[in-house]
């Protein structure tokens, strides 16, 4: 059963800002053109509601990572604007935004606990409180016993878990993830996907996740909503709800899962005229 998200009402205003407590992230007619003329994004409009688990799905070059970086405030659009809870800067919105990158990006000279504590240290949280929160963050990712280990002593999957713990230690409102499990083997990835989904489910209606991936299966398994993008120029071609509430190994094998995957593949194919990117 598919549910198409209704087109959001036009919002052409660029100056007037109305506080909007449900739309956590909003991109309005956002464009990004690089110096060499590459159009990474073309008139992208995307409204993300509080508590959503949204996957940005698409081939490489469709601008999904660029859009994610804009939501993080790490990049600005060439045209159009972004809104965080209706404000024009992440800092003004009071949103706590955390990001997980393609690589674990841990500081190699610091142990896992110090790495996870970094956002708290930067925010000036007292050491004792910070240590307690680090211990609490390491627990759900299964690294409670590895606080003193150095990143090089951990496997790729464990490094990624440390990276997720670092993102969650601030108890963020928004978690932005840029192909976090792309470099991992399929078994590790499935396990981490399952763990991530339950971490999100525990904070239902509080934690908003935007997850960039090029795997249709991963997007369908994780998300409450899949936003499909196509390349050249980067644009949104489909916006599909995945309503099933139970996500377990059974779900991966279910007809519904297969149906969603087929549907998304077909949409991607028709949108890119058979050329699914390189």
């Amino acid at each position: 059963m598919l549910m198409k998200y209704s087109e959001v009402e036009p919002d052409e205003s660029t100056g007037h800002l109305a506080p909007d407590t449900d739309t956590v992230l909003f991109a309005n007619r956002v464009e990004k053109t690089y110096g060499n003329g590459t159009r990474a994004l073309d008139e992208v409009r995307l409204r993300i509601q509080r508590g959503d688990f949204v996957s940005l799905l698409g081939p490489s070059g469709c601008g999904k990572s660029t859009l994610l970086k804009m939501y993080a405030g790490l990049e600005s659009p060439s045209h159009g604007h972004l809104r965080w809870l209706g404000t024009d800067a992440p800092a003004k919105s009071g949103l706590k935004i955390a990001m997980v990158f393609q690589e674990a990006t841990l500081m190699p000279w610091a142990n896992v606990a110090t790495n996870v504590r970094l956002p708290l240290d930067l925010a000036g949280v007292p050491r004792a409180e910070a240590d307690a929160r680090v211990a609490k963050a390491l627990e759900p990712v299964g690294l409670a016993a590895f606080g003193k280990a150095y990143p090089r002593e951990l496997s790729g999957g464990m490094q990624m878990r440390a990276s997720i713990a670092r993102a969650l230690v601030t108890e963020p409102d928004v978690l932005l993830m840029d192909e976090p499990f792309g470099a991992l083997d399929e078994f590790t990835r499935n396990k981490l996907d399952a763990d991530l989904r339950s971490l999100w489910a525990e904070r239902l209606q509080k934690l908003t996740v935007v997850f960039v991936t090029h795997s249709i299966y991963e997007a369908v398994y994780l998300s409450s909503r899949v936003v499909m993008m196509a390349a050249r120029p980067g644009r949104i071609v489909a916006d599909v709800a995945i309503p099933e509430s139970v996500r377990d190994d059974e779900f991966r094998l279910s007809d519904g899962f297969a149906h969603h995957c087929r549907d998304l593949s077909a949409r991607l194919l028709s949108a890119s005229g058979g050329d699914v990117g390189h």
Binding site: M107, W109, P119
Partner: protein, 264 residues
Amino acid sequence: MKTPLLQNPAVVKIVAPLIVGALLLTIWQVLCIAWKVPIYLVPKPTDIIATLWTDGPGLLRALGVTLKITFLAFFVAAVLGVIAAFLFVQSKLIESSLFPYAILLQVTPVVAIAPLIIIWVKNPTVALVVCATLVALFPIISNTVLGLRSVNPGLLNLFRLNGATRWQTLVRLRIPSALPYFFGGLRISSGLALIGAVVAEFVAGTGGTGAGLAYEILQAGFQINIPRLFAALVLISITGILLFSLMAWLAKISLSHWHESEMS
């Protein structure tokens, strides 16, 4: 199972070069005896060792003078080099305006400017330290700049995302990232400081401060006391190797817990 002694990497690392050294010295000794090479052309290794023993105290005193200049110059170069590197990474404008002059320092031969410095600076020790510092400075600047710039862009984004101040980014990210490069610079500069000190002493010559190892070499040359000249050379080489090892050891104890270059 017991591994044969010669397959133990630690033993090989020490024993192999020692065997090569002993072999070369033996060949040297045998050739000198076989061809009856006069001592004022090429002394035998045994002559050099004998001279090291008899002239040891005098040469060591000279070595002390050279070492003092070397360490002072190395220290000043390290401090100035790091300060310059921090300045350079603050803005592209500062780097673009000043970096060519840092290169100028590097490419100007110290022998060419040492006479000027010795004329300008009254205190001979200070003059020699200035010369040696000029030689040792550049590797520290360029390596530290490289290190401060080669920060993982992902970590830089992470710091930005968490609202890190410039200072926090410097202390918690840029400096640790730069450390391996900084130690690489120290390693090169330690040898260069010694070379700079000796070269500057040469230029200052017998009329200058005297008493350094270069002065001893010059004197021994004038007196055709070739074994003493070789003995002084041996002392300089050993000092250079010890300085290099000291820097390597410093890098090892500071980085071994995380950096690939220093892992065993």
